[in-house]
Amino acid sequence: MKLNYEFNKELLSITEKVNEEDIEFSIVFKNVKLAEKLEKVHQYFDLNEIHTDALFFTNKDGSNQIIVKKDFYEDFILQLFKQQLLERLKWE
């Protein structure tokens, strides 16, 4: 079973790719205010005691790169959903 998600393509774009033990996300916001919501996701992962669960970077073009360990994929998706960056989640 995989956790599938949907988001508002008019407000942001999310792409993901598998890279060895990680899933790498690229998130681009068309509305700057949404970046604050991603910062809250960042803070959530900063507050726990695991340093390598999700690593957040910002690129020069403003896109956000997040390297997520496979074990924390669902956690990350759920946090995006909690911050309303995703509209729908479904196990398929």
């Binding site: 340093h51 970077f57 073009d61 790169q65």
Partner: protein, 426 residues
């Protein structure tokens, strides 16, 4: 030997055994031992309090508060990404850069706090480049202990020395230890870079991805950053001037910490105090009381007598003996209790005819701080890095670390021996 002295030695050795074997937490062992000294009447509470060095405790607490608030700004992530980009994402050059940053951070803050800040940043960069973080973590352990050797606030043994001996000011540490420490660092960094060169490979694609990062976005709170940097600079200037203005280093560190709390607002108070390592602070308190039991019963005086009889009171042989014993002991046991025991012993030697104690103090500082690099349990920074790495699934084994670090430690002590001899003994 009096019954009280025998009892004090017994309590001290049992507490020490628990600290070394880690059968129970070292803070509990030290505090229980210290309290037993009081409960059994070896020392009274007033004497025990008199022996607690509040300068050491205040200095550590103040610096921990300043660094905790500074870390909130994202400064350390910024420095790491900025330096990785400066060397164009080359894994080998990043290894060297992180080593130098860790050493400088350890010299200006303290090495335990520095590694706590550097390890998460290291995971970020090595993950980005898909390289094994272990060589970087080993480099940071070694650089933190060497960098910490170079200043009075860099490593707990130096903090204790600077507090216990009035003549050993912040400037004296810089004047006597900074140069040799950074020379030893250069030798260690070069050898480690050579040793790990084959493991440090990445792809051009990953390097160019790293070059696309915007490090300025790592700074989360610019107003707080400026406040923290200003206070940090003031505090360091204060350390340089503390002897001239007749203010103890703890007052300067605590002054800086609470000035920063005034500037940053009370929302940071709880978090900053929560992150102070109270276990380390209470470990020190227990140790000071434990050692005071030995001092008050004359045991330390007897040990000093014995050491002088071994070397015939000769400054040169006593210095070299202290350097090597400190290094070997600190490689296998925590250097903090060792230094806590050695300080009163060396002071006692001063009353027994050794008029020039200076080479002895620097030998103790170099031996205890650099000796910590010998094994994975030799210093607090080593244990912290290994623990953090293990939690993330990267095991630094005791044997593998020993194989790399012990010869480096011996080399560092050989260089220190030459330095002590050439600078102070001829």
């Amino acid at each position: 030997m009096s019954n009280e002295a025998a009892l004090a030695i017994g309590i001290f050795l049992i507490a020490y055994a628990f600290i070394v074997t880690e059968k129970i937490h070292r803070t509990i062992a030290a505090m229980a031992g210290g309290l037993l000294m009081v409960f059994l009447g070896i020392i009274n509470q007033e004497t025990a309090l008199h022996h607690i060095d509040f300068n050491t405790l205040g200095l550590l607490t103040g610096m921990m508060i300043i660094v905790t608030i500074t870390a909130e700004t994202g400064l350390f992530h910024f420095i790491a990404i900025w330096s990785a980009k400066k060397v164009k994402g080359s894994p080998m050059k990043i290894l060297i850069a992180l080593g130098v940053i860790t050493a400088l951070g350890s010299a200006l803050l303290d090495n335990v706090t520095t590694v706590l800040l550097m390890v998460p940043v290291t995971f970020s960069i090595t993950r980005q480049l898909k390289v094994n973080p272990v060589p970087y973590l080993v480099m940071e352990i070694i650089a933190s202990n060497i960098g910490g050797t170079s200043t009075m606030i860099g490593d707990p043994p130096n903090i204790m020395l600077g507090s216990a001996v009035k003549e050993l000011t912040f400037m004296e540490f810089i004047y006597n230890l900074f140069g040799i420490s950074f020379f030893i660092l250069a030798v260690n960094v070069a050898i480690l870079a050579l040793l790990y060169r084959k493991q440090l490979k990445t792809t051009d694609l990953l390097k160019s991805a790293l070059m696309e990062l915007d490090e300025s976005k790592e700074i989360k709170n610019k107003p707080l950053l400026w406040k923290a940097l200003s206070v940090l600079a003031l505090t360091i200037i204060g350390f340089f001037l503390h002897q001239m203005v007749h203010i103890e280093s703890a007052s300067i560190a605590l002054g800086g910490a609470f000035l920063l709390l005034i500037l940053s607002g009370e929302s940071y108070l709880e978090k900053a105090l929560h992150r102070v390592e109270w276990t380390t602070i209470f470990f020190f308190i227990g140790l000071f009381v434990l050692v005071s039991g030995l001092m008050e019963t004359g045991v330390i005086k007897k040990l000093a007598d014995y050491s002088i009889s071994l070397t015939g009171g000769d400054v040169a042989s006593t210095s070299i003996l202290i350097l090597w014993i400190s290094a070997i002991a600190s490689a296998f046991i925590d250097n903090i209790p060792f230094v806590a025991t050695m300080i009163p012993m060396i002071k006692e030697m001063g009353t027994m005819g050794i008029s020039n104690l200076e080479p002895l103090w620097w030998s103790l500082a170099l031996g205890a701080c650099l000796g910590g690099n010998g094994t994975l349990v030799g210093a607090s920074a080593n244990v912290i890095v290994a623990g953090m790495a293990a939690k993330e699934g990267y095991r630094i084994s005791f044997a593998k670390f020993l194989f790399v670090a012990f010869p480096l430690m011996i080399l560092s002590i050989l260089l220190s021996t030459a330095y002590i001899y050439l600078r102070y003994l001829i």
